[in-house]
Subunit: 249 residues, 2 copies
């Protein structure tokens, strides 16, 4: 807290839960492990002022949004959000607001949300400097996150642990470094997120594995034309993500 | 060629094979598709001056080094090398010498090579600005490349083609972009390289798939402690690659 104040990033803060302190806020952003977030609300939601708007940064929405909205006081509102920006290191000393600038901010409303809350949440994403603000249902969010984020972490972890790599650093090119950057991982948070989104994640993992296995068989059988066709597809599809990148740089 | 001359990157060049022209060089670096490289040498090796040193940048060594050294004139020498630096785009307009600066250059000698050729090849890597110059046997090179480079490309391609992603660009975080950067791929070159190194690549793919499948089963069964242990391992092992990175920046 002292460090964040010194940097001018916060005006004031507390590491204890005090009713007077909490009662002053109109907008509260929760950045807690999912189960801690739920426990916290159960215990302390009585402290908020009537009309306060709560939002979060939780990486999975099913099992969180419905739980929170189901238990919340009638005079409070919770609107879920997911800022798609992060680093492979944690702690306020590693905070960097620039990670927001070419990133996506996803608002995840349900039928329980007011238009005003949705607008405020979008405005928060804009204020933070996010490049694209979009809206998804919890189901669609979790499916998408299962593929784009959780599957990629599973791949990185598996690649990093499938053999002894200690002696390989001096031979490595950028491709291995790129694919394993996210293999440095907060095991408590990610295990919880994986298990909260288990069904979606397993589906995405199986999808990937079938495709990977097909490529393996093409290589084993020497089916050159089929391999080339997969690579051409891959090049075209990656091109769609490129345009995005060049647009924001 | 006009562009490279304009940039001051080459003093002169030819796009045709002329005996007089080729006969003047002491050191020649081949950057051709593997089978084209072999064909070229069969046809034109008579043009080199006695004592010329040949080297290459081919991404696979077994099936190339022995072939070349076996067919070469007795008064020429071929020393294999692999500059571990590349981009996902091709053409001289995309050339960037900076990609060498924190990269690895691997010299791949056999018992047919002289110490002088090995030294010259290492000196070439140094002149180009490579950060680390190392030496590997062809067998060890191909095993290592099967894992660090070819497997990672197989993963990226499979991730990019396992489902329709066109609608996902606006939700993507950096992890997906990092893992698929190399999914833009020259299908002619990489298919040839994959098939030249087929046995090694299949072994590395199977190694990865077993680990990935184990993680999948841990998630499906909700074995949280086991997942956390894998993530802790992954974080430690990735740390070894980090130190390297910070050293070179």
């Amino acid at each position: 807290m002292a460090f964040a104040k010194e940097q001018g990033w916060i005006a004031h803060g507390r590491s204890t839960v005090e009713e007077d302190y909490i009662a002053q806020f109109d907008l509260v952003v929760f950045a807690l492990y999912p189960h801690v977030f739920l426990d916290w609300l159960r215990q302390y939601q009585g402290y908020f002022k009537p009309g306060a708007l709560l939002t979060d940064v939780t990486g999975v929405k099913n099992g969180i949004v419905q739980e929170v909205q189901g238990m919340l006081r009638q005079d409070l509102e919770f609107i879920a959000a997911h800022p798609m920006a992060g680093r492979e290191c944690s702690g306020v000393e590693n905070a960097k607001k620039e990670i927001f600038y070419d990133a996506n901010y996803i608002v995840v409303p349900t039928e329980k949300n007011t238009q005003q809350a949705i607008d405020t949440c979008r405005a928060l994403g804009e204020t933070l400097g996010f490049h694209t603000i979009s809206t998804l249902t919890p189901e669609r969010h979790d499916e998408m996150i299962g593929f784009l984020s959780q599957l990629t972490h599973c791949i990185a972890i598996s690649l990093m642990t499938c053999r002894d790599t200690a002696c390989l650093a001096e031979y490595s090119g950028d491709s291995f470094r790129d694919l394993t950057r996210i293999a440095k991982i907060n095991e408590t948070m990610w295990t919880e997120l994986f298990l909260l989104n288990r069904d979606q994640l397993i589906e995405q993992m199986d999808l990937f594995e079938r495709t990977f296995r097909h490529l393996r068989d093409c290589i084993a059988d020497g089916r050159a034309e089929e391999i080339k066709e997969i690579m051409r597809q891959s090049t075209v599809q990656r091109g769609l993500f490129d345009k995005k990148e060049s647009k924001v740089k």
